[in-house]
Symmetry: C2
Subunit: 395 residues, 2 copies
């Protein structure tokens, strides 16, 4: 029910196929983020039309509201989100370390204060797996500790050690039959047959710790592996250094997922180094801020110069928004605070990311990825409304 | 290019067809309100799927932002809204009297302060027509004076007199060829051939003033007539009294539009008395407040009893929301302040109103409207989450 097949390579870059209980997706794939039960402002129909093939839900948010048991009673997260295609949930660990007021970190897990009502919540490896089994996504993630970007070698080493121990505990919990009220739920019946558990490599920018982390995970023989602890301020070059090693560190017959990365520049660098899966709030969050991605640079749609522009965001784009709306209308909708503005630009940006990933897959199949990459990056980062702002945004 | 045809009658109730430059609609019709360039939170595709056939835009909002000239340069309001079906704009008068800080009312028009930036704006009959010609809707409305509900007979008489004078000035402006930069716009070329101007009856709850107002308008031989100055606190009985006379006051070969009315109880009462067109923010505004219309009463979807309810809003409903989402999910989306909640309930409520109007049209064709009406009203107003709250809401 779950599997990864590598179809073609172009250097270390891999064209592949992920098989899940909810269908196949071609990799490299970009997963839009549906934090709290919806990809903000868009319906599943609109997501599919924008080219999304697999999406992500945030366990941290869902376990606090409406609660994993509630999601299970409503039929699981696929049904709650009306999403019938592949779905991944993270473990909640990242948000515990970034959003919650942390209370106590121990060998057993982490106790934190809910950012919604201040109540104390415990998250352990076994609970992270239990909660994700109730949510019922196709891919679930181990609980890990993601240290801050400025953590020193010792602190990162401790996080690697703890994350490795938690990975084993998650694997053990995931192999156990689910008992009690929820055992009959379609996704969770038999020892991980339906849900795939991914381990998460930590190690910050330290090559020795990354290697140790990967080795400990590979020992567990998991269905997939993620690279975590990036996008915490390390910068593009340091990210590339981390990724240079992963093709040797992680098995080639398993999918590799770079968590939280979405800048097109970083995506290309990661694909070239052997990454298959991505998620990021970039296209959706920036859309709600009136920023549109195009192959001629990014547009800030609140900019006055768009006020009477009857052209679409991108003349070449085939998305619903570009087929139906002008830049002038979109600017108006944002100025008037109409909900439809964020919805329409979200549709466009997701379509842009889908088109971008399709181009990457085609280039891998053709063996031309590196040759195409520079021209794409020039198109994506030059022009638009943000000339001169690029460096700070890209890194 | 514009016309009304009465197809069948059931007492005074009329089944009809409105022909416009953007196609036909069957009447009685309910028009969702797209105040500032969008029906809040839904795309035209979603509107059409929810059964909307004709919608309304608010001239007051659009003339202030983005401005009628800007709308015209972007291709007109149909194009700005990506709406290819029939469209009506009001004159802005109602909002001037209800939203704006009024500055000066004279025989010539009204000067008011914009509620957006405080600037002084003048609205005259000629300008109301000019602005609506730039917007380019299929049906445009005369500028009228809508006195407050508590106005005395003399004040209402003055408003009737002024509105009648303004109706004539609007008619004259509408007959003139449009000159200047915008004369080539598709909708405005020849003396009102493409846009239909409706007059608006005023007169409050005073039978003599309603009669005088209607007589003055009918003299102008306009393509359609509206009943204005209702829904200002007069109550259901007084509304029925006003409407009892209109079949004799307004010509039978023209469409009749009851402005701002949307309570199902009022709609049925008005259809029975010969009204063909309605608009109201009720289904859309209430949706954004988590209130869903059903044939078993209204639901308040934030209510805790819906938290783990896997049933749709209405088992019998075929809308996108009911086909895909449970009450439990919708409650969660509202509790989590996800934009998708308002969007999904808007889709449902618009589908409910569309289904309601279809039932009305079928009953007129079958000659069973009065027999059906009581059962419908019992279904719509009994049950749900609002038992005991009904009286105050309906009136």
């Amino acid at each position: 029910m779950f599997g990864y097949q590598c179809i073609a390579t172009d250097g270390k870059a891999r064209l592949g196929r992920l098989q899940t209980p909810h269908g196949k997706v071609e990799t490299p794939v970009f997963m839009p983020v549906g934090t709290a039960g919806s990809v903000k402002g868009v319906t599943p129909d609109q997501l599919i039309a924008a080219g999304a093939g697999m999406i992500l839900g945030n366990t941290y948010h869902l376990m606090l509201r409406p609660g994993a048991e509630t999601v299970a009673r409503l039929g699981g997260l696929h049904r709650v989100m009306a999403w019938e295609a592949p779905l991944l949930t993270d473990s909640g660990g990242y948000q515990v370390f970034s959003l919650a007021h942390m209370r106590k970190l121990s060998a057993e897990g982490v106790t934190f204060q809910s950012h919604i009502d201040g109540s104390a919540v415990e998250l352990t490896p076994a609970k992270a797996v239990y909660v994700q089994r109730l949510l019922g996504a196709d891919v679930i993630m181990q609980l890990d500790e993601c240290p801050p970007g400025q953590a020193d070698h010792d602190a990162v080493a401790a996080a690697v050690e703890r994350s490795a121990r938690w990975a084993r505990l998650c694997r053990d919990a995931w192999r156990e039959p689910l008992t009690g009220a929820f055992q009959a739920l379609p996704c969770h019946s038999t020892q991980g047959k339906y849900q795939a558990l991914f381990g998460i490599q930590q190690g910050g920018v330290h090559a020795d710790l990354r290697a140790a982390s990967a080795a400990a995970l590979v020992e567990l023989d998991l269905p997939g592996y993620a690279v975590g602890g990036v996008s915490v301020g390390e910068g593009h070059e340091a990210l590339c250094d981390v990724l240079d090693a992963i093709d040797d560190q992680l098995p080639r017959n398993r999918p590799r997922y770079l968590m939280g990365v979405g800048e097109p520049r970083d995506i290309i660098a990661a694909v070239i180094r052997g990454i298959d899966m991505f998620d990021c709030v970039l296209p959706t969050r920036n859309a709600r801020n009136a920023q549109a991605f195009t192959w001629q640079g990014r547009l800030r749609l609140r900019n006055a110069r768009h006020a009477e522009d009857a052209a679409p965001v991108d003349e070449m784009c085939g998305c619903y928004t570009c087929r139906n709306y002008s830049r002038g209308t979109l600017r108006h909708l944002f100025m008037a605070k109409e909900m439809l503005g964020p919805t329409l630009v979200t549709i466009h940006n997701l379509h842009f990311f889908s088109t971008f990933m399709t181009a990457i897959r085609k280039a891998i199949a053709a063996g031309t990825l590196k040759a195409s990459a520079n021209a794409w990056l020039a198109a994506i980062y030059e022009g638009g409304d943000e000339e001169g702002e690029k460096e700070s945004e890209v890194l």
